[in-house]
Assembly symmetry: C2
Homo-oligomer: 209 residues x 2
Amino acid sequence: MSTSTSAALDGGRGPAEHDVRTQIIVAATAHFSHYGYDKTTVSDLAKAIGFSKAYIYKFFASKQAIGEVICANCLGQIESEVRQALQGVQAPDDRLRVLFTVIVEAGLRLFLQDRRLYEIAVAAATDQWPSAKAYQDRIGQLVEDIIKEGRACGAFESRTSLEETGRAVYQVLLPYLNPVTLPHLAPLHEEAPKALQELVLRSLQPHQW
Amino acid sequence: MSTSTSAALDGGRGPAEHDVRTQIIVAATAHFSHYGYDKTTVSDLAKAIGFSKAYIYKFFASKQAIGEVICANCLGQIESEVRQALQGVQAPDDRLRVLFTVIVEAGLRLFLQDRRLYEIAVAAATDQWPSAKAYQDRIGQLVEDIIKEGRACGAFESRTSLEETGRAVYQVLLPYLNPVTLPHLAPLHEEAPKALQELVLRSLQPHQW
């Protein structure tokens, strides 16, 4: 996580400011994961970290600004996990299976293991924070890229519009990406984790007409 | 709505009790749709209707028991709307399109027009009330029936297990059925309302292998 944290924090500012920002984020992540995001104020956070509220505001404009960085780190971690799992997987249908499986598992793990930190993800999705929106766009792009590769090698059909089909497949996945909807769909997913993937893959099959 | 209300209320009891129950349900529906379900107590409701709390408890064991009947009526109404829209539609692919379209539209209408009554639907889905569970099972069965008809006339593929494929198609629809998840997916649905249906239909196409 340290690498992606640094990357997300580094906005081209000086190292001193960078270090303080990292320190605040690390402490805030620990604090939120214990006490929750929703009910914690910047004052609570400042007290817990041992900084003044004014000092924290020098580095972050609001509680949401802190939440945004934590959220970006969490989503970045899930995305890295997905991209790592995809490495070495060649067949386009398997790549789509891996994408669906890893992304749902990672989301459920975050929900089950870190309920209080999960509040940040819920706020991010509900209020459409830029970090959440950017993540969704990148995953949508990844879906389209996999379909495009599959079309290029003849594994997937090429009759339909790539963009429309990419969005439709992403739309099947989205309820399991969205942290608000995922917990409500988890029981169904456990029951039939592969059914959805296989339905999508059948819809992508190339055929003679 | 009066017909389905009567049907839902008629548990084989005498007409007098039946009338009082109907009267309570009608008044409670009006009250909840104005003041919301979550924050209203049976005492509030009794006061508003002009009955004693004890009298209401003679007919309903709890606030949830009243909510259950209202929920069953609402879901029954959506289901009637779907079944009515399906009448006269013969082609299996069109039947699936109608099912997807009408059920999402009806759910969104309930959410947008009657936010406070929608609280009942959210409670029903979250706590898995029997009325919500039974509704989901009936819609799942309807999906399977349409696929079965489509297989019988050669419009849909028959290679996969009917039960598994039926559940997979239902799983695509479910996030748009569930009152908790639907509002979070509505923006995407408006953008691409047909994309999901067409993906599902492509997955069902019969082909030579």
